[in-house]
Symmetry: C2
Subunit: 252 residues, 2 copies
């Protein structure tokens, strides 16, 4: 499994991804799921990937080849993030269909692509296994792929488009921490890429290793703060009217 | 969808369930998913149900009928919670198999059964759609059915077997609140049943209605406490070594 999240703010974009790849619990490896493409001062893209590793590697290889070959359509001449998402969706489908005939095996993959092209605003899009895509909105400024449920509540509670890059980065790491705590197949190294709007360059990248003291402290602090938050809730009012259940079957 | 949780503690058992049933988002109804059976002073069972409504209703009807008919095996003569879970598993499979031939339709259901029989300890068991079951353990004193992911983290952080019934009840309601916030198909009324160990009677039941002021206050308090918990985290250290990503494709 995988967990990747991208957050699109007025101030820029935060990308965060884990690096654990598994085929069963006894075949675990580390692969980066964050891929960067850009021309400084002109355009920057970050792609996060989830799903079948052969598919995602095939898609990324195709993107690189198209850039190298200066293909008619490639990330360095495409005119918008939406167009890039369509291009990525086609590459995704083509790669999956290469292997489709084997029944009962899924080669599905999904992607988040985000970034900025000079003259346009920063944007993020989620490309589904089916090849279509959605973009984020002002009311939901983030997109997730992979194991998204455990880490979703904190994003919903904290993020708005005017959240700072610092706060959103912290929020992404807390979201990642909650996911790692509950799902064994999501794990470090954790990669964080922070893109500042209109900078048209990527220069804030950090990789938190397995033994990262920062991640360990964040894990401990978040756990103890959550327990404190729970302990300070008003206690359950035991003076409720307590009844017997309506749907009750009693013996004599 | 559904969310039900049962927590087995030294002090007794807490059961909590939502009441929303849906077949698509425009066919939503309210059905209790909590069913109680018992003979005061001798034995008490609470059953929580998730999955296909026709299956769960069929299973509960069969349990009631067996009690009424004083069948060879019924909840009022069964000798342990494990045996009750096996009996429930068989009834579950039988009910599902009645309709199995229609391809592509799932009649699956799962259950939690918990309670106490005089002379034994309180216990909870989760009965899978396949008919088999697991019981809770000292290190994982709770069981969930339905949409379990959103509400799991808080249970993991708070519960141990020596948690009080009051704290565990509050924890179950917070877990339910997180689930309702993230999944539209889980909703009130919320039923809470608190069984005190060795009481062999069920007399602490409360149903929180849609407009429950308590639930609304809990929702608000938990949200603001979580935001405070997040705000008080140590800020991200922007003095990290920030690099360019390793896997980066740059234009000239």
């Amino acid at each position: 499994m995988t967990y990747c999240v991208a957050i699109c703010l007025d101030a820029g974009i935060v990308f965060c991804s884990d690096s654990r790849t598994n085929a069963g619990v006894d075949q675990i490896s580390t692969y980066s799921k964050m891929h960067c493409f850009g021309v400084d001062g002109q355009r920057q893209f970050v792609i996060l990937s989830a799903g079948n590793l052969a598919t995602t590697q095939g898609v990324i290889a195709k993107i690189k080849k198209d850039i190298k070959d200066e293909a008619g359509q490639n990330l360095f001449n495409i005119s918008s993030i939406e167009e890039a998402a369509d291009y990525l969706g086609e590459a995704n489908l083509a790669q999956q269909n290469k292997h489709a005939p084997v029944k009962g095996t899924s080669y599905e993959a999904s992607f988040i692509i985000g970034g900025q092209i000079a003259g346009s605003k920063p944007k993020i899009a989620l490309v589904y296994a089916q090849g279509n895509h959605i973009v984020s909105s002002d009311s939901t400024p983030y997109l997730q792929i992979g194991e998204s449920k455990y880490g979703k509540p904190i994003l919903d509670r904290i993020l708005t488009t005017d959240t700072t890059l610092e706060t959103a980065s912290l929020c992404a790491l807390v979201s990642m921490d909650s996911t790692m705590r509950s799902n064994l197949t999501v794990g470090p190294p954790i990669e964080l890429q922070v893109y500042t709007a209109n900078s048209l360059s990527l220069n804030r990248y950090h990789r938190f290793e397995e033994d990262s003291e920062y991640l360990r402290n964040l894990h401990r602090a978040w756990n103890s703060h959550l327990i404190d938050a729970f302990r300070s809730l008003p206690p359950l009012n035991w003076s409720f009217t307590w009844d017997r259940s309506l749907d009750e079957q009693s013996g004599s």
